[in-house]
Amino acid sequence: MRQQEIHQYIQRFFLENKCSVLDESDDHVTVQLTIDMDKRIMNRPFYWSYVESGGVEPNPAKLTLITNPSQFSTSLAGERIHFGSPRLHQLFQVTKEQGAFVQMYEKPGQNQATQVTLTPWLGVNYKITYASDRTKEMLYSLGMNLMNGAVIDGFQESVRKLELAPSVSANTYYLPYNIPPMRALTRLEDVMENVVNQDDHTWVDEAKQRQVRDLRVLDYFYTGVEEVPESYAMEKKAIEEQYETTIRIEIINGGLFYLKTALV
């Protein structure tokens, strides 16, 4: 994420969370947190239980976030924000909790005279992780047409371009789905599993080889030792865990989309 993207991310984040911006430049943002946001990110549970028990006037914090690295060393007081900074990571975490499930309807567009019909889709964003003593991740954005079961990749990129609203607009109506969303979800899971199965998995064999080699070295250390010490079992366990291979499929977020645009 570049500096500008981070700046924009922060602005949007606080805007969506109803925290008012008090001061702003290209280099920084100062926001007044809401009580809810203060509780989420300021790590001061004792303060809040004190306020709530004592009837004290709540005073949620103001936060200044500096997003331009060239301003980090100047007199501008505030937290330095960059990719990898704990505060940004925390905002990511909150975003994750707040942006997991949506139900969106495409807008009919201006001057639309005739009634518009929307087709239901299930969209799900996946993250796949391969892990041994190294890791690799991949994102997939799948969408399934709930009328005919067609599956497309790159769903998120497609819907991003559309005008969507959280409720259905006037003069539009949507088709009830043919395929229940939960069943569609199971089918998308199968698709993901297929993707994984067809991938190149030499990394698994390589990790296995490293493991076998290290276990052999360990055993060699204790050859001829009559009473194997306790540490042997632990060393062995450590090596097994070190090279243990796992594949994880996680859902980042997903939702129901009612679209007039046909996606291919």
Binding site: F83, V102, K127, D219
Partner: protein, 506 residues
């Protein structure tokens, strides 16, 4: 191949479908995806950590070291860079990489007590890693990154609490302290589960190859064979050069070692000289009397000789103790005679030499001595000549150390330190080091020099090794040379610590 999935999202989705909970906000939904896309790690290879640390500018050798540890050594390695090249940064990069990749959730850092705060500060400030100091009152389940000293960690009840945690990564600073497998420290580290492990030391061999064998056997038991086979091959004096080469290669599989002049960083010169000096006739007389003193063990005799090479005061203290413990009247008499002669001596030849060097340098100087008595003696000698000095030793508290350092930097011309003071203080503002007494272990010299000859040094550094001719110190020089030879054979090149090969000016 088993695939792990989480059902959490599915449950939340069902709740929304059944109108039991509200749907989320579209903008935040998109931001969430964008954020995941920015965070994705597309390759097994390469380092992610620099992307997360825009304010840290590691040197090329540090990045390379971190990558080598992870990709070639699979996360178990000895980081053996020369002093002052930033092993802490390398370890921080490795830890950060594993944290980002989710391979390490819990890490334990063991460092000398005097360095734990420095570790915590560096990890927090430079790496944004929330490391905290160990405290038995904390619930360790909630402290993912803990820093403590081995001396603390090896004792009950801390020991049990720590071992129970099963850390994913264990980092041990100043790991040469684990050279002896018969110590509690060694045993403790052996009991820790080490999925990933970094041992940091600039001096993996101090005296002999077995120390390195012991270190590697902690890290990767069996890598150098077991003790029996290792002993049979490498302890015999008759072993061959090919075996050294083979050993060197095995070591390189688990050890990263950067040396200064290969880092591509401009280094100031390190000018090392042995400064031979002679006793005065009177001193020579006392020295031979001391050498002939019939003491019970050769160790005491050796100590006395070394002390006499250092200062009258150092020798006096030991002699007085010896006097109290001695019963035979003739030996007591001999000691008394020596003590009397000692008081008649003028300023010690070596102190005189040191004084000369300090006056010639006309700059800040650090003097390292092995003896507390000599430390006091030197301060008195310097004071008499109007030269200001501060003392530094291992017994000082953290605050006092810092204060002494400030005093040295600001007001005093000379810092007189004992061995134990030489750990973890950085004195780049100084360019002259006098090794007033030689240690048995060449790596101690390296550690001492490393206090000033490190990143941030802007001028050439002058090292003076003082040695009294025709005394025990001659033999010490010889022994140090031999040990340096062993190190270079199996570990690799070593920067100048005893001489820089040029003819010394005497």
């Amino acid at each position: 191949m088993r695939i792990e999935r989480s059902t959490e999202w599915k449950e939340g989705f069902t709740e929304r479908l059944e109108n039991r909970k509200e749907w989320d906000n579209w903008t935040l939904y998109q931001m969430c995806y964008d954020m995941e896309r920015a965070k994705v790690i597309p390759e097994f290879h390469g380092l992610q950590s620099p992307k997360h640390l825009p304010n840290l500018t590691p040197y090329a050798h540090q990045l390379e070291a971190a990558e080598t540890v992870i990709e070639r050594m699979n996360g178990k390695a000895i980081l053996a860079d020369e002093v002052g090249l930033g092993k802490t940064i390398e370890a921080g990069l490795v830890l950060k990489e594993y944290l980002i990749r989710g391979l390490v959730k819990k890490a334990l850092i063991l460092a000398p007590a005097s360095l734990t705060n420095q570790w915590i500060a560096e990890l927090n400030q430079k790496f944004h890693i929330p490391a905290m100091s160990y405290n038995k009152k904390y619930n360790l389940d909630h402290c993912p990154i803990v820093v403590t000293s081995i001396d603390m960690a090896k004792r009950s009840p801390h020991k049990e609490m720590i071992i129970q945690q099963e850390y994913d990564l264990v980092i041990i600073d100043e790991a040469h302290k684990l050279k002896n497998p018969k110590t509690k420290n060694y045993e403790f580290v052996q009991q820790l589960k080490k999925k990933f492990c970094l041992l940091l030391t600039a001096t993996p061999i101090q005296n002999d190859v077995f120390e390195l064998f012991n270190l590697i056997s902690l890290l990767k038991p069996g890598h150098l064979g077991n003790l029996e086979t290792f002993q049979s091959v490498f302890s015999a004096s008759k072993h061959h050069v090919e075996e050294d080469e083979f050993l060197k290669e095995l070591i390189q599989q688990v050890m990263v070692r950067n040396i200064r002049h290969e880092t591509g960083i401009e280094w100031t010169n390190r000018l090392v000289q042995i400064m031979p000096l002679d006793f005065t006739d009177q001193e020579r007389v006392v020295y031979s009397m001391i050498s002939k003193l019939p003491v019970a063990d050769s160790f005491t005799s050796l100590t006395l000789q070394r002390e006499m090479c250092s200062s009258q005061l150092a020798a006096v203290l030991t002699l007085e103790k010896l006097h109290q413990a001695t019963i035979q009247p003739e030996v007591r008499f001999q000691i008394e005679e020596i003590l009397l002669k000692l008081t008649e001596l003028d300023i010690h030849s070596k102190a005189k030499k040191a004084l000369e060097l300090i006056q010639k340098a006309n700059d800040k100087v650090i003097i390292f001595t092995e003896y507390r008595a000599t430390q006091a003696y030197l301060q008195a000698v310097l004071h008499a000549k109007g030269i200001t000095s501060v003392l530094f030793n291992g017994k000082f508290s953290k605050n006092k150390r810092e204060w002494m350092k400030q005093l040295f930097q600001g007001n005093a011309q000379v810092l007189i330190a004992t061995e134990s003071g030489s750990e973890g203080i950085n004195l780049q503002f100084c360019h002259h080091v006098i090794n007033y007494d030689l240690p048995w272990n060449p790596m101690k010299l390296e550690q001492r020099i490393g206090r000033v000859h490190r990143l941030g040094q802007t001028e050439d550094v002058h090292i003076y090794n003082l040695a009294v001719q025709q005394s025990v110190e001659d033999k010490m020089v010889e022994l140090l040379e031999r040990k340096i030879g062993v190190f270079e054979k199996v570990v690799g090149e070593l920067d100048h610590i005893l001489t820089d090969g040029k003819r010394s000016i005497s």
